[in-house]
Symmetry: C2
Subunit: 674 residues, 2 copies
C-alpha cells in the first residue's frame, strides 16, 4: 500500500483527478482481443468520475487497423448516479481495432454549468463572465492561431456581457469554443484508460452453417468407398440444403497398427477402413490425402467446386498420430516414451488407445514440433482451405494455440478455427480467449426450456459473448444424445430449429441427422451404433422421411433474416407453458449508432419442445426487445408456413402441433404510427 | 491480438501451461491493497487450470510484512467443474502482507492418479512403476542431496514393485516424495498469479464505537461555553456509555468574516459563536486551538484522560478556510481568485458561502499546499491524536489522499481516517480504495427491511467488503432524517440497535441522539433546528427519557460478542413479517482455518422496525449460517433482557412490543451432540 500511495507526486502539475474504471468490453483483463465481425457494433462503457463537483468530459477514442490517428466520439452519461458512460462505434474493416476511454476535468463546462445556474436563479454574473473569458484566453494562448481565433472571439463576447455563450446551445461562438477548449485540455491533462484491442473478422466467423460428412460414404456406386471427387459431384445436395461450410473428418492416410474395427472393436477386420482420426500411414501423415479418397488435386478440385457453390471447405486438425505415422520414426523426440523405449499410447484406464500416439508439446524438441504443426496448417492454407475444425484443442497448451492462430492470422486473416472442446467452462472460454474463432458448446445436452434459457443467456452476454462464439451442433459423429436415441422425426426437427435460431453458427453431421438416424450403442453411451467413424455407409438422400426440406427452409430463413446472424440480441420471453420456448433476436446493421433507434428486423421464435403432443399457451412478450408498440396492432409472419397473424398487446396465445411444425419463426413488423 | 499471440515463444522450455485467473480478494485490479485487521482471515480463491488431463497443483504463497521468505499453503479444489481453488491465511501482524497463487503441472501426481486407476481396474502396472521411478530420479538429480534422498528411496521402492508409494497415503515414502517433487517442480516451472497486497491494521480500524460532541456545549455552568477541560472532566459519561472513540468537530479558531448566525442565518449576531467548520482567525488556523476551548496543553490533557478511559480522540480534518485564516494572507496562491482579485468563496447557486474559501488542490503551488496539509496532520499526531474524521474528502483529489494517508501510515501505521463523504457509490468506494480506513454510509436513509438488507449485503460482500469499511451513523450534526424528525423515543432505539449490530463500526452524535432530539428545520431539509453547529447548548444528561442505558447495554453487548466485531459474516434470515428484520453474525477468531469448522459464537438479531405497534411473525432461519443443527434443541439468550428460550427447528415465532424493546439480540448456543 505505502509503495503505491506515497512517492511524493512528481511533475509540475498536480496529479490527474480522473478515475477510469471497469471499461467494457474487455477480455481477460485486456490480455486478449475482444471479438467482433465487420459491421458488428462495439458498445463501450466505462465508470468515469473525479472528486468534487466539476464537470467531467469523457471520450471514446478508437483506431482502425493500421491507422495512426485516433477517432474521438463523445461518451454519454447513461447513469450519472453510477458514473457510467457509454458510446458506440461500428468497425467496418477487418483487423485489429483499438479503443480507449479518455477523461478530463472540463473546467469550461464546469464554468458554464455554474453560470447557467446563477442565471436561472437570477444571480448577477458579471464577474463570472470575466472568469470565463480568462479561461478562454488562457486556452487560446496555449494553442494554434487557427484554434485560438474562435476562443478569443468567444472571450470577447463574454467580456462584452454576451450571455449567449452560456445559455444558447446554438450560439455561433459557444460550441466551437467548448470543443476547442476541450481539445486543448485533452492534450494537456487527459486521463486514459487501458488500450483494448478488438479483433474484427469476416462475417462467417460469427454466422456460418456447417455440414459434416464422411466422404467415404458418398460413393454413388456400391462396392467402393466414396472419394473427394464423389463429394464434389454431390455438392448440389449440400448447397440446396443451404450450408456454407462443408466440414470433412481427417482426409489423411489411416494407420493399420492397432486399427479399430466396427463399433470401435479392439480388432479390425481385414476390410475395416479404420477411424480417420488415427492419422498417418506409409502413404503419409498430416499433409497427405488418403489414397482411397483421391489426391491433392482432387482436394483442390473440391475446394474450387465448393467455392462455386458458395461453400468453404473445413478440414479437421487432429494433432495426434497413429503408430504408422511417418513422424513416429522421423521424430521420435516429439512423443513420450515408456521405460521399454516404446512410444506411450493414449490411455484412459482400463482402456488403452494403442492406435493413437499423443504428441508431447512439452518435449525438449517442442519448438520443432510446434513449427512443423504450423507448417501443416500452412500447407492446407496453400491448397485453398480456409477453415479448420480443431479436434480436442483442450489437450494441447493454450500458449500453442495462441501462437499458432496468431501466426496464421498474420498472413491469412480470414482463417476460421472451430474448437472441438467438450470440457469445463473455464477451459472452453480460455480457448476462445486465446484465439479460436468459434467453439462447440453444451447445446446437445441443454434440452429443457430452463436449461436452454440459462445456457444461451450466458453465451450471449459478457464475458462470453465477447470472447467465445458458439457453434451449436445437435449431433456429431461422437454424439448421439439419449434424447435423440430412438427419438421420432419430430425430435430431430425440434433440435434443428433450436440450433439454427438460437445460435448464429450451427451445424449438423449428416446425412444421419436429416435422415433421423436414431440407433444408439447399447452400452450406456451417447454414441451412434454402427458409427461411420469405423465403417463405410451408403445413404438414401432421397428418403421421403428426410428432414432435408425443413433444413433447406430453415437455412433459407437464416440467410434472409439479419436478426439470425447475431447472438448478441437474443432475448427470452416468458411462456406460461414451459414446453413452449420463446425467444427473439433483432438485427444489428451497424448503420445507426444511435441507441434510441428501435430494434430492427425482429424475429420471434416459438419452439414446441414436445415432439409428441400439441402444446399451447399464452406468451408474455417483451415489446421493447421486439421494438413494437404493443398498443397498436403488429404483424407476425411465420416464415416456416407463410401464415400471417395480426397481434395486439404482449400476451398472444399460440399452439403448436408436432407433426405439422416444430415451431414458429415469425418475422415481426409494425407500420409506423400515423 | 497478433502482437500478443505471436512472438515465437522464447526459452528452451515449452511455455507454461497453467492459467491463473480471477484471484480474489483483489481491490481495483490490484492497484490498491485489500483491507483486513489483525486476526481477520484472508480467504483466497482463484480459477486455476491447464490444458489436458494432467493434475494441477495449486499453492497459496504469502509473506508477512518485512519477511523475505514466502509461506506456502496448498489450495483445495473447492469446485472442480469451475476449476476454483481456495485456501486461507490469517494475518496476525500489522502491516502490508502479500500473497500470490502459484500453480504447476504435477507430473508425479498425474502419474499417481493414472497408476491408481490402473491398479483399481486390475491392469498390470510394472512398466508404469519404472516410469514413476524415472520421474523421481530425474527430480533427485535436479535437487540437493538432502532433498534427493527420500526421492531416491521412493524410486528404489518403485523399482522393487512397491505399490504403497501409489496406493497408501500413509506410506512413509509417498508423501515426502510427493512434497519434494513438488518443491522441485515449482522452482523450475510454476506459473504465478499477481502479487496482491493486504493492508492489515489494528482491530479498531474495523470495530469501533464513536461518540461525537461539541465541547462548547459541555460547560458544567451556565453563562460560559464548555472547554476541552470540561469534556475531560465528563469522560466518565462517554466511557460509561461504552464508546471508544470521542470525535470532536473542528477545535480551531473560528473566522468572523461572513460568520453564520443561528440556524445558518446569513448574519451572525454579536454573541453567535459561528460554525467550527469556518476554520481560521487571528488566533490561528489548522494547528491552533480555539481560545474559548482552551490550549494545546488542554488538548493533550484530554487525549491522556481519554486514553485512561480506553477512549481515543478523533479530530476533524476539514481542509478549507475562513476568510480570516492566516493562509489567506500568507499563501494566497493556494486559493482560486475572482477577476477582481478577491478569493473565490464556495457557492451553490443561488447560495453563496462567503464564510468558506476552498483550497485549490490544482494551483501552481499545489506541492507546498499538499506538504503543509500533511504537516497539519503530523502536528496533531504529535499531540497524541490517532484518528481523523475527514470532512468532505470527496471534494479533494483521490491522489492527494492516497499520498497523504500513505505518508502518515509509513510513520504512524495505527492512524485511522474516517471519510465523511455522502456522495455517489463509485466515489465513496474509491476513497476506501485509496486508503481511508472507514467511511460514512447511506445507513441513515436505509430504513425498510428491504433497503437495509440490500445495502448491508452489498457492504459486506466483495468488492465493497475488501475495500470499504462502513461506519454507520443514525444522525450527525448535518443529518436529522425525516424518519427521526418528530419521531418517538422508540424510533431512536431502533436506529441505535440497527447501527450497532449491522455495522462493526458505528457512531452517534450526542447527546442529542440519546436525548431523542427530534426537531427538524422547517425548510424541507433533513437538518436539526437550532443546530449546535451555530450555537452553544446545554444538555440534561440525566434526563429520564434518555436512551443512555440502552446505549450502554448495546455497547457492552458489542464488546462481549466477537460476532459483532466483523461485517464479513453478516447473513439475513427470512421473516414473514417485513417489519421484523432478522440477521446474524458469527465470529472469526482466526484460529481455525478449516472451513468445515462450524460457525462460532453466533449472534442473531431481530429488530422491530415499527416504533409504534407490536409486530410478530415466523422467521425462517438459515441453520448453516448459525452453525446449529436444527433437529436438536438450541438455546437463544437475549442479551438485552437476559431472557432465554429453547428453540428447535428453523421457524421460530417472535413478537416484539416497542415500548419494551426495539429487538432481540440473541446469543445462540447448542451443546455438542452426545
Amino acid at each position: 500500500m505505502e509503495a503505491k500511495a506515497s512517492g511524493p507526486p512528481k511533475g509540475t502539475r498536480a496529479p490527474n483527478r480522473i478515475v477510469i474504471d471497469d471499461v467494457t468490453p474487455c477480455v481477460a483483463g485486456g490480455a486478449y482481443a475482444v471479438k467482433r465481425v465487420v459491421g458488428e457494433p462495439v458498445r463501450v462503457a466505462a465508470t468515469v468520475f473525479a472528486d468534487g463537483h466539476d464537470e467531467v468530459a469523457v471520450v471514446l477514442s478508437h483506431q482502425p487497423p493500421g491507422a495512426r490517428a485516433w477517432v474521438d466520439l463523445p461518451m454519454a452519461s447513461v447513469n450519472p448516479g453510477l458514473d457510467r458512460w457509454e458510446a458506440m462505434f461500428t468497425p467496418m474493416e477487418r483487423g485489429v481495432h483499438r479503443f480507449r476511454v479518455l477523461g478530463w476535468i472540463d473546467h469550461f463546462a464546469s464554468w458554464q454549468h455554474l453560470v447557467r445556474r446563477k442565471i436561472d436563479a437570477g444571480v448577477e454574473v458579471g464577474s463570472d463572465l470575466l472568469t470565463g473569458a480568462a479561461l478562454l484566453e488562457a486556452a487560446a494562448a496555449d494553442t494554434t492561431k487557427r484554434e485560438a481565433a474562435p476562443l478569443l472571439e468567444a472571450a470577447t463576447a463574454l467580456r462584452a456581457g454576451d450571455l449567449l455563450v452560456v445559455t444558447d446551445p446554438g450560439s455561433p461562438t459557444r460550441p466551437s469554443a467548448a470543443a476547442l477548449f476541450r481539445s486543448r485540455l485533452r492534450k494537456a491533462d487527459a486521463a486514459a484508460g487501458p488500450v483494448i484491442e478488438v479483433l474484427v473478422e469476416r462475417e462467417r466467423a460469427l454466422f456460418s452453417t456447417w455440414y459434416e460428412l464422411f466422404p467415404r460414404s458418398w460413393s454413388p456406386e456400391p462396392g467402393r468407398p466414396g472419394t473427394l471427387r464423389d463429394v464434389a459431384d454431390r455438392l448440389d445436395y449440400v448447397a440446396d440444403l443451404g450450408f456454407d461450410v462443408l466440414y470433412l473428418p481427417p482426409i489423411h492416410p489411416i494407420g493399420e497398427a492397432f486399427r479399430k474395427g466396427r463399433n470401435n472393436a479392439e480388432q479390425a477386420g481385414p476390410a475395416d477402413p479404420g477411424s480417420p482420426w488415427a492419422i498417418g500411414a506409409e502413404a503419409g501423415g498430416h499433409t497427405a490425402v488418403h489414397p482411397d479418397l483421391g489426391t491433392l488435386d482432387d482436394l483442390r478440385h473440391l475446394v474450387k467446386r465448393a467455392a462455386d457453390n458458395g461453400i468453404e471447405l473445413a478440414l479437421d486438425l487432429a494433432l495426434q498420430c497413429s503408430p504408422d505415422h511417418p513422424w513416429v520414426t522421423e521424430h521420435p523426440e516429439w512423443f513420450r516414451h515408456r521405460p521399454d523405449g516404446t512410444i506411450q499410447y493414449a490411455e484412459n484406464p482400463p482402456k488403452k488407445y494403442q492406435d493413437i500416439y499423443p504428441l508431447d508439446f512439452e518435449s525438449v524438441a517442442w519448438r520443432t514440433l510446434w513449427e512443423t504443426l504450423l507448417d501443416v496448417v500452412r500447407f492446407w492454407l496453400d491448397q485453398g482451405v480456409t477453415i479448420f475444425r480443431v479436434d480436442n484443442p483442450h489437450t494441447k497448451p493454450f500458449a500453442f494455440w495462441a501462437w499458432l492462430i496468431g501466426e496464421v492470422r498474420a498472413t491469412h486473416p480470414g482463417t476460421i478455427f472451430l474448437a472441438e472442446a467438450f470440457t469445463r467452462p473455464a477451459v472452453m472460454q480460455r480457448l476462445g480467449q486465446v484465439g479460436f474463432t468459434q467453439s462447440y458448446t453444451y447445446f446437445a445436452w441443454r434440452q429443457s426450456a430452463q436449461e436452454l434459457t440459462e445456457y444461451f443467456t450466458e453465451l450471449t452476454t459478457p464475458p462470453s459473448v465477447d470472447q467465445f462464439r458458439p457453434n451449436a451442433w445437435p449431433n456429431t459423429p461422437d454424439i448421439l444424445t439419449f434424447q435423440l436415441q430412438g427419438a421420432p422425426r419430430e425430435q430431430f426437427a425440434i433440435r434443428l430449429l433450436l440450433a439454427a435460431t438460437l445460435s448464429a453458427s450451427y451445424g449438423i453431421y449428416g446425412p444421419v441427422f436429416e435422415l433421423c438416424e436414431n440407433q444408439g450403442t447399447d452400452n450406456g453411451k451417447e454414441e451412434y451404433l454402427d458409427s461411420e467413424k469405423y465403417e463405410v455407409h451408403r445413404w438414401d438422400l432421397g428418403d421421403p422421411a428426410s428432414l432435408r426440406e425443413l433444413v433447406a427452409t430453415v437455412n433459407a430463413i437464416r440467410y434472409g433474416q439479419l436478426a439470425l446472424h447475431t447472438n448478441r440480441t437474443l432475448r427470452f420471453h416468458h411462456s406460461e407453458n414451459d414446453q413452449l420456448l420463446c425467444f427473439s433476436k433483432t438485427a444489428h446493421d451497424g448503420a445507426d449508432p444511435d441507441p434510441s433507434v428501435p430494434a430492427r428486423n425482429p424475429v420471434l421464435v416459438v419452439v414446441n419442445l414436445d415432439p409428441v403432443w400439441n402444446q399451447g399457451g399464452t406468451l408474455e412478450l417483451d415489446a421493447d426487445a421486439l421494438g413494437v408498440d404493443p398498443v397498436r396492432p403488429y404483424e407476425v409472419h411465420d416464415l416456416l408456413t407463410d401464415d400471417r397473424y395480426t397481434w395486439t398487446g404482449v400476451r398472444p396465445f399460440v399452439e403448436l402441433r408436432p407433426p405439422l411444425a416444430p415451431g414458429h419463426v415469425f418475422r415481426v413488423s409494425q407500420p409506423p404510427a400515423s
